[in-house]
């Protein structure tokens, strides 16, 4: 530690170069943060879904409806703890680009199915006692500045009201939070009983079922049993774990996310390469000074340590500040204006980021440091 002053002086020696190196490392780590967030967004939070949930949809495709009556039949099957359903409403709030998921659900069953949606008890009571009541996730409520008590008009695109009326109005009675950062808090949920009674067509038909199994290890067997139960009926089903379902959907987006992440990683490593090269250059330039240090009694090990400490300090400073900045930037929201339902940096990525910054410092420092420590004093002093 007593050499801290010396290390700091070395960094201050060429202020412009040190500042520029610092800034480019900082930018590299801001890019790294975005890269991780984009990857998380395109994976659609696959890592956090409940392992004991199945999604059951129409075999032909998710847009085909299933009869409401399947719920009771599923709950009779062995291994099924409970079942509930949801339907894609697909309405428009103000303009089509204000996209978020809206679904009519059975409040108690749905919230029991998703314990990670946290709704204050009095808001849940209000929802159960208000027929036109709806709840929204925190992200969506903040996006549009909604507060409990607001009336939210939504234009139907699929589900007209009886008499062909297009506008549905809902009373916002609650705002739910996510138990984890990866929980989707963009959904807008309203009551199925109200929806079913007021819709013009398709009464008794729902979009998909959510099923909780008793034992996650037997999820595959239960899924097969559900499909077998409805085989050869007019509406055959396809059951799979929620994870497989979301993965399947994420794959539908295709390789665009992968291409972006690939390009970003290439850029990230290029910037690190250039920064590392500059840092190494800074040490090579003053080999004769290092010779002086050794001449006045610094050991090989001390010289090695000092050079390494210098490059690690710069890399870590740039890396940590960059990570802090990107953490702040990303907490402001996603750059597409709300089109990505989840956009955040998983906590583990910060550790990886710091480790990479340290790795950069070590790699950039190790070769000049070795060179410096092996340097013969006479050679070094004769330079220039």
């Amino acid at each position: 530690m007593k050499y801290a002053h010396l290390i700091w002086s070395n960094l201050k020696r060429k202020k412009v170069r040190t500042t520029l190196t610092f800034l480019s490392i900082l930018i590299a780590f801001i890019l790294f943060g975005y890269m991780v967030a984009i990857k998380t967004a395109f994976d659609m939070g696959v890592s956090v879904v409940g392992e004991d949930r199945l999604v059951v949809r129409h075999k032909v495709s998710i847009v085909q409806l299933l009869p409401e009556s399947y719920e009771a039949r599923m709950e009779d099957l062995e291994g099924v703890a409970e079942a509930t359903h949801a339907t894609w409403f697909g309405g428009v709030y103000q303009r089509p680009s204000n996209f978020f998921a809206q679904m009519p659900v059975k409040p108690e069953e749905y919230m029991a199915m998703y314990p990670e949606f946290i709704l204050p008890e009095e808001q849940m009571d209000a929802w159960l006692s208000t027929r036109t009541g709806a709840i929204a996730g925190r992200a969506t409520a903040e996006r549009f500045g909604w507060e409990v008590g607001d009336r939210i008009p939504i234009q139907a695109t699929i589900w007209l009201r009886q008499g062909g009326e297009q506008t549905w109005e809902f009373d916002l009675v609650g705002i739910y939070d996510g138990a984890e950062q990866a929980t989707d808090t963009t959904q807008f949920l309203f009551r199925y009983d109200y929806f079913d009674e007021a819709r013009q067509m398709g009464r008794g038909a729902i979009g998909w079922y959510l099923v909780r199994v008793d034992d996650p290890d037997r999820a595959a067997q239960v899924a097969d049993a559900i499909d077998a139960e409805f085989a050869n009926s007019p509406a055959e089903t396809s059951a799979e774990t929620e994870m497989a379902f979301i993965q399947g959907f994420a794959k539908q987006v295709g390789n665009i996310g992968a291409i972006m992440v690939g390009v970003l990683s290439a850029v990230f490593f290029t910037i690190l390469l250039v920064a590392g090269n500059t840092m190494a250059q800074a040490v090579r330039e003053r080999l004769n000074e290092i010779g002086v240090l050794k001449a006045i009694g610094f050991t090989d090990g001390q010289v090695l340590g000092m050079v390494l400490a210098e490059s690690c300090l710069l890399a870590l400073l740039g890396g940590v500040v960059g990570l802090l900045i990107v953490w702040y930037l990303i907490s402001l929201g996603d750059p597409t204006g709300g089109a990505l339902p989840i956009f955040f940096i998983p906590p583990g990525a910060f550790t990886i980021g710091v480790a990479m910054a340290a790795g950069l410092g070590l790699l950039a420092g190790i070769f000049p440091a070795l060179q410096a420590s092996r340097l013969r004093v006479a050679d070094a002093l004769r330079r220039d």
Partner: protein, 395 residues
């Protein structure tokens, strides 16, 4: 004139001595090439997607959906309604009658070839007028499906991206096998991502009764749209909205394009900062290694202005070389790259190819020049402000 000749002589001198500084010059070129590569690549994705969505859109064609529906998937029209739409003023006529095509649009699950995971592939049921409305559609392999038989034709994009869509094969829809008898092309447009078949068979297979989702109507002329729209909206028998096909497709592509360009711009801006720092670093080194030369020039009577300009020119030249390298790389790697993604608005897959257009390359070059200019500015001013006597004394 003197001023210009000063600028040109210093600039030439700088550029000729560039080889001696090839390390730092290469780093700057490399950095800027990277920025331009990413910038052009990401925008080429958005460009390609937009092209696929809009290529088949025509000004003189209208698409009619139930009021409130924002895509075909959400719409629903009875046979009677489609007949009323076809008879509305403004619809073109041919020897077969009105050129208006009622169409059924559903989605089937097929695995993607690239990942083998299931994807929403659009399946369109059509009647005869569909081929008149889309007169650019051509069967390039096999033949058209026969009316009244379980046969389908497949767009080239769909055939490329999804497994099982090979000529001579078959797909299962509604519990029946449908033979694939032809592959078609439609000018790179959205229909190329679709599978087509006879609407009547599809209706019965999906238990849809005699219903459709949309009507594609060819108009007398581009200008008849207003008349067509007015008459439809005042007709009490139907509750539908007409949109020009071009507007409909560009509306349909907004969300995916917003995601791609939003992320792409963000990345390019961040990288731009990185590259400005890189250029700044290079020019700063270039200037500081030539402190004495610059001071000598000043002592000989060269003015500060030409020195600033010449440093800027050097920086911009490096940047433009970088931009050219990046643009070329982007073109070589990404132009024509094929992909498919889901369009959230229609909830179905769109096959498209990345497209590096001349406009994108020009934008990339402008970006590069801009980075060079900003990155060179401070070092240039620094060079011009050097105190002559002190600089000459420097070792």
């Amino acid at each position: 004139m003197r001023w210009l000749s000063q600028v040109s002589s210093i600039t030439l001198f700088n550029l000729r001595s560039m080889l001696q500084r090839k390390g730092s010059a290469a780093a700057a070129i490399f950095g800027i090439a990277g920025v331009v590569l990413v910038f052009v690549a990401v925008l080429s994705i958005a460009q390609g997607f937009r092209y696929a969505m809009t290529a088949s859109g025509r000004e003189d064609t209208a698409i009619v959906l139930r009021s409130g529906a924002s895509s075909e998937m959400m719409s629903g029209l009875g046979r009677e309604e489609t007949r009323i739409v076809a008879e509305t003023a403004g619809v073109a006529r041919s020897s077969q009658g009105q050129v208006a095509s009622p169409e059924l649009f559903v989605i089937i699950d097929l695995p993607k070839r690239s990942t083998n995971t299931s994807a929403n592939v659009p399946l369109r049921g059509v009647e005869e007028p569909a081929f008149e409305v889309r007169d650019g559609l051509q069967i390039i392999e096999g033949r058209n499906f026969a009316w009244g038989r379980n046969e389908v034709i497949v767009g080239v994009g769909a055939a490329r991206e999804f497994s099982g869509l090979d000529l001579g094969g078959s797909i299962e829809v509604g519990g029946e096998q449908w033979a694939i008898v032809g592959i078609f092309e439609d000018g790179g447009g959205i229909s190329e991502s679709e599978v087509w078949t006879d609407a009547r068979l599809l209706q019965s297979s999906y238990r849809r009764g005699d219903s459709f989702q949309s009507v594609y109507a060819k108009l007398d002329s581009v200008d008849s749209f207003g008349e067509f729209q007015d008459e439809l909206s005042t007709d009490p028998r139907v509750n539908v909205t007409a949109t020009r096909q071009t507007d409909y497709y560009s509306e349909q592509s907004t969300m995916v394009t917003a995601i791609i360009t939003g992320l792409g711009t963000l990345i390019a801006v961040l990288m731009g900062f990185g590259a400005i720092i890189g250029a700044f670093n290079t020019m700063y080194t270039a200037v500081s290694s030539r402190t004495r030369e610059i001071a000598t020039l000043r002592a000989l009577g060269f003015k500060a202005g030409p020195i600033v300009v010449s440093v800027l020119i050097e920086s911009v030249v490096l940047a433009v070389i970088g931009g050219f390298v990046g643009g070329t790389l982007a073109y070589v790697i990404f132009d024509g790259f094929r992909a498919a993604t889901i369009n959230f608005q229609s909830f179905s897959q769109v096959a498209f190819t990345f497209s590096v257009t001349p406009t994108l390359l020009i934008q990339g070059a402008i970006l590069a020049a801009f980075i060079g200019l900003i990155g060179g500015l401070v070092p240039a001013i620094h060079a011009a402000r050097l105190p002559v006597a002190a600089a000459l004394r420097q070792v």
